[in-house]
Symmetry: C2
Subunit: 200 residues, 2 copies
Amino acid sequence: MTVLTRKGEQTRLRIVTGAAAEIRERGVAAARLEDVMTRTSTSKSQLFHYFPGGKEELLLAVARHEADQVLADQQPMLGDLSSWAAWQQWRDSVVRRYLAQGQECPLNSLLGQSGSRSPGARAVTAELIRQWLEALVIGIHRMQAAGEIAAAVDAERAAAALIAGIQGGVIIFLSTGRITHLEAALDVGIEGLRASTRLF
Amino acid sequence: MTVLTRKGEQTRLRIVTGAAAEIRERGVAAARLEDVMTRTSTSKSQLFHYFPGGKEELLLAVARHEADQVLADQQPMLGDLSSWAAWQQWRDSVVRRYLAQGQECPLNSLLGQSGSRSPGARAVTAELIRQWLEALVIGIHRMQAAGEIAAAVDAERAAAALIAGIQGGVIIFLSTGRITHLEAALDVGIEGLRASTRLF
DNA sequence: CTAGAATTGGACCCGCAAGTCCAGAAATGG
DNA sequence: CCATTTCTGGACTTGCGGGTCCAATTCTAG
């Protein structure tokens, strides 16, 4: 697989998105290569042609794909957190995303399973978290510049806490079906930022 | 398995704790029955004698066991959140617990994987979260009674957000190795409660 | 002490899904 | 248009690991 032709590239992408869908529906553990083949109308040789490392390599590709998706789904809100209205819209988009997805977050299951093991998957997560954090920090800084958030607030820490809250909220939603925690984490987090100006 | 003799009970417990350890070290997906047998010096017939439902039933028992452990590890702090010093001690105990555990949270992996599927595992999580929430709510109420937290604070929501933050913080720690998020979630959460009295 | 239940050992079965292989079809570039 | 590379199909192998079975042994109660 030195160079991919256009057709090859299409097939590869089809496999990745198909595998992602399969994982979303059935979970990582239950996702079989054969199902991916059926769904994407490909044969085994194709899978191993594009992913010589087999299942593990495919899973990693899926993780990358889904990590991109997570951030993409929050745009354009995440990139322009310059007013409280924007923050609120972003909050809503996050809640909506997971409500719509309902079943399973492929990223979480991906990382919860083989993720912690393989260094590759770890890197994917770390990068996702980093980018996410960065976007939030920029948003907080912007609000600080506008005087809407106290300058004394540690933007990094606040953003880190917010992301943790989202992650946990999503996990709890996935495993109990209750969206309360995700909403609470977002709302409490944002309100904390809003209230900061009244504290100093 | 109508009635368990003392010996039987011991063996059963040995299997559960052994399986838990195995899962902690290798992850749910990679945990093989055979390894559990070796570690606990038991044979296959014993496994299926005590867990007729096979692996799934064993996993569920492990989940229950670990869920209890999660709360037990936070005691006695969690049960007596009646001063800011106590809150701080609780916070430290949570951080310490996961730092010490380092590798993998069996509960998270357990629930991240087959958890969302089997209704039994869902129930275990739901119950854990419920108890955890309850303990925090009681703590918040106590602090409100003492005038240390504003009465206007929605205890349920604040507790829900805090738990989400912890969960997410742990996940991020497990998959990136950075404890920052867990600490940030706890600290920001507690500080938010502390600051509440200055807002109303 | 003894009948019946609980417990234990380990050999065996079996299905599933990952991974291999090779031959043939399509595409690419000169 | 032809040589070379990329791409595709599907049959085959393989090993792993969950689950079954039965016979032997130990425990408990009356």
